[in-house]
């Protein structure tokens, strides 16, 4: 009984994984090259940017928060890095500055959310606007190239595996550990379940919230640097709009937007799932105009399938309970 329940509540990533496998099978049928090593590798590289961000976003959403400023943080971080490199700051220094800055911006989000107890959506909408303004202010909307040497982050390989994929894997495992094994992880879950109860249990609500948004910031900065390395330079408006893809990945992965329930695995798979849609459309050379329709439909289907599977699991549990109750009989 308890095992079934655990599967029901913890195994939320099962649905999206099944959907991903189905989509992959479909694509394998539609396009012969889909299953090639280089294509899979390409998919994973593409998924790494949103996937890494989704790792951080998972923590935020688990606390029942949301951060729609991550796209702007990405833009600002990339801008800061490119700008610093342009004025010949040593790359490691620029690197550190960018990561630090993104972490601060993320933490600021958390601070504002928890201190003023405003809706996270509106708070981060406000900071989204601000951060974006700051980024344009900083760069005057210029494109700034980054040195090709820096491209290692986007292009390089270690033991034959592309660096972005390695980073994605690394951060995935860190996320898994943080959420599953550390005090912070369980606190995040607890906070998402009930802020009230967390306060009554004397949990450091402020620190937990800020910690989650900090993770959102720092993962965004890593994605920003990978993206920057891969596209070869800063572009105005870079990353703006990516937040919705990231949130979609997390939610598709089974994390409840109301917080308190979700998994790291689900979010990672969710990010890959979304990339697969694009990849598939590219591979079958679909008309560029139908991309959005297909994406929207797939998104809706995925949500519906998820819902149906949850309902079915619930029904099974009910059935078992009914059988048990009927089996009791009337023994007075």
């Amino acid at each position: 009984m308890a095992i079934m329940k655990n599967l029901l509540f913890r195994g939320k990533w099962v649905a999206i994984t099944a959907a991903t496998i189905l989509l992959a099978l479909l694509l394998a049928v539609l396009s012969p090259v889909f299953l090639s090593v280089s294509n899979i590798q390409g998919v994973l590289i593409q998924a790494s940017v949103t996937g890494i961000m989704a790792m951080g976003m998972t923590f935020i959403i688990l606390t029942s928060g949301i951060d729609i400023s991550v796209g702007a943080i990405l833009y600002f971080t990339a801008a800061l890095f490119a700008k610093l490199v342009e004025i010949s700051t040593p790359i490691p220094l620029a690197f550190g500055a960018a990561i630090l800055c993104a972490s601060l911006l993320g933490t600021l989000n958390g601070f504002l959310v928890v201190t003023f107890s405003m809706s996270p959506l509106i708070t981060t909408l406000a900071t989204y606007t601000m951060y974006r303004g700051m980024a344009i202010h900083l760069t005057s909307a210029q494109n700034i190239p980054v040195p090709r040497a820096f491209g290692f982050l986007g292009n390089g390989k270690i033991y034959g595996i592309p660096v972005p994929i390695l980073l994605f894997a690394l951060i995935f495992f860190i996320g898994l550990y943080l959420l599953g094994k550390t005090r912070f992880g369980i606190y995040v879950m607890a906070l998402g379940n009930s802020v009230e109860a967390a306060r009554e249990s004397n949990l450091p609500v402020k620190k937990i919230t800020m910690g989650a948004y900090f993770l959102g910031g720092i993962t965004t900065s890593i994605s920003a640097l990978i993206l920057l390395a891969r596209v070869g330079g800063l572009q105005s408006g870079m990353g703006i709009g990516i937040e919705f893809t990231v949130i979609a990945a997390v939610v598709l992965g089974g994390t409840k937007l109301s917080g308190g329930s979700g998994t790291i695995i689900g979010s990672a798979v969710g990010a890959i799932f979304l990339v697969l849609i694009d990849n598939g459309l590219n591979l079958i050379q679909a008309s560029p105009y139908i991309y959005d329709i297909v994406k929207g439909t797939v998104l809706l289907t995925a949500v519906i399938v998820d819902k149906v599977s949850i309902e079915r699991q619930k029904k099974q549990l009910h059935l078992q309970k009914a059988l048990r109750i009927q089996g009791v009989g009337l023994e007075v």
Binding site: Q46, N143, L227, V231
Partner: protein, 299 residues
């Protein structure tokens, strides 16, 4: 009514990005030089905001308006209001071919620019045997300049019957261009040439080619032909280094200056040309270094 006060010109900008900023900066410099002041408003890609901003420029009784429309088909209402208020309007960078409200247009002919890149590419590919696959990275699906560049490019390529063009949307976004290129190569490993609606996407193309081990420079065996339009530093460097074969370079400075001069002339009541096309110039790996000074993006 205003006596000796400075004349003011409203500059309406569709969106801020590098090449647009280049034009505006040139226009502003020209206005400064001639002792005009200006009010700059940015619509951030929203046609309604732009209409509101033009209205607001009219309310502020500016003496002329320079406009780069978010969309050529939805700006007319606002511009007619300007005309009604007897404020001269100069369109820059993005043509408003059907407008009755503008007094002049200064900017590129995007179809011609596309044709130029296409012609060069067709020339390179004409001796290839069998089916040739060319990747086209589109701009935004709703951007007239992007649509026109694509139109011109396709027109020129139509000369070659054995070429198949695979088009991928990018929304002018390098990250999207990157994954689109990557995926396109999965579907068609033997892509022979790539056309980028903006050359700022060439570094992304380079990343993919490097990933695939196809990064051979111009003249080397197995080189993938790369052409683009714009004239950014990305495009310049790539062409100079032999990563790209050539780019169409826009003349932002002349565009901006001419647009500003037109506005000034209109205020003074002087005659001007109704349409000044500032053509893009195609530079190849061979001649781009020599013309570095004329390329706006080159650093």
């Amino acid at each position: 009514s205003k006596k000796e006060t400075k004349k003011t010109i409203g500059i309406s900008v569709d969106q801020l990005f590098e090449s647009r900023v280049g034009v505006i900066d040139a226009a502003k410099a020209e206005l400064d030089k001639n002792g005009y002041s200006y009010i700059e408003v940015v619509a951030d890609g929203d046609p309604q905001t732009q209409n509101a901003q033009i209205q607001s420029l009219i309310n502020q009784k500016v003496d002329a308006i320079l406009v780069c429309a978010v969309d050529q088909n939805t700006i007319e209402t606002a511009l007619l209001a300007a005309k009604k208020a007897k404020i001269p309007v100069v369109a820059y960078d993005r043509d408003l071919p059907e407008s009755e409200a503008i007094d002049s247009f200064v900017g590129p002919d995007s179809i011609a620019d596309g044709v130029e890149a296409g012609t060069y590419m067709a020339e390179q590919l004409k001796d290839e045997n069998g089916k040739v696959v060319v990747l086209e990275l589109l701009g935004a699906l709703n951007d007239q300049n992007g649509i026109d560049r694509s139109k011109g490019f396709n027109e020129a390529m139509a000369a070659l019957a054995h070429v198949e063009i695979v088009a991928m949307p990018t929304d002018w976004d390098s990250a999207k261009a990157l994954s689109a290129t990557q995926n396109a190569f999965q579907a068609n490993p033997d892509i022979k040439a790539i056309f980028a609606a903006t050359d700022t996407q060439i570094p992304s193309i380079e990343t993919v080619l490097t990933d695939l081990g196809k990064m051979n420079k111009v003249g080397e065996e197995g080189h993938v032909i790369v052409c683009g339009i714009n004239g950014s530093n990305d495009g310049y460097e790539a062409t100079a280094n032999g990563i790209a074969d050539g780019i169409v370079v826009m003349d932002l400075k002349t565009t901006g200056e001419t647009a500003a001069q037109h506005a000034i002339a209109l205020i003074k009541g002087e005659e001007i040309e109704e349409k000044v096309v500032i053509p893009g110039i195609f530079y190849t790996t061979e001649n781009i270094e020599a013309n570095k000074d004329t390329i706006w993006g080159a650093k």
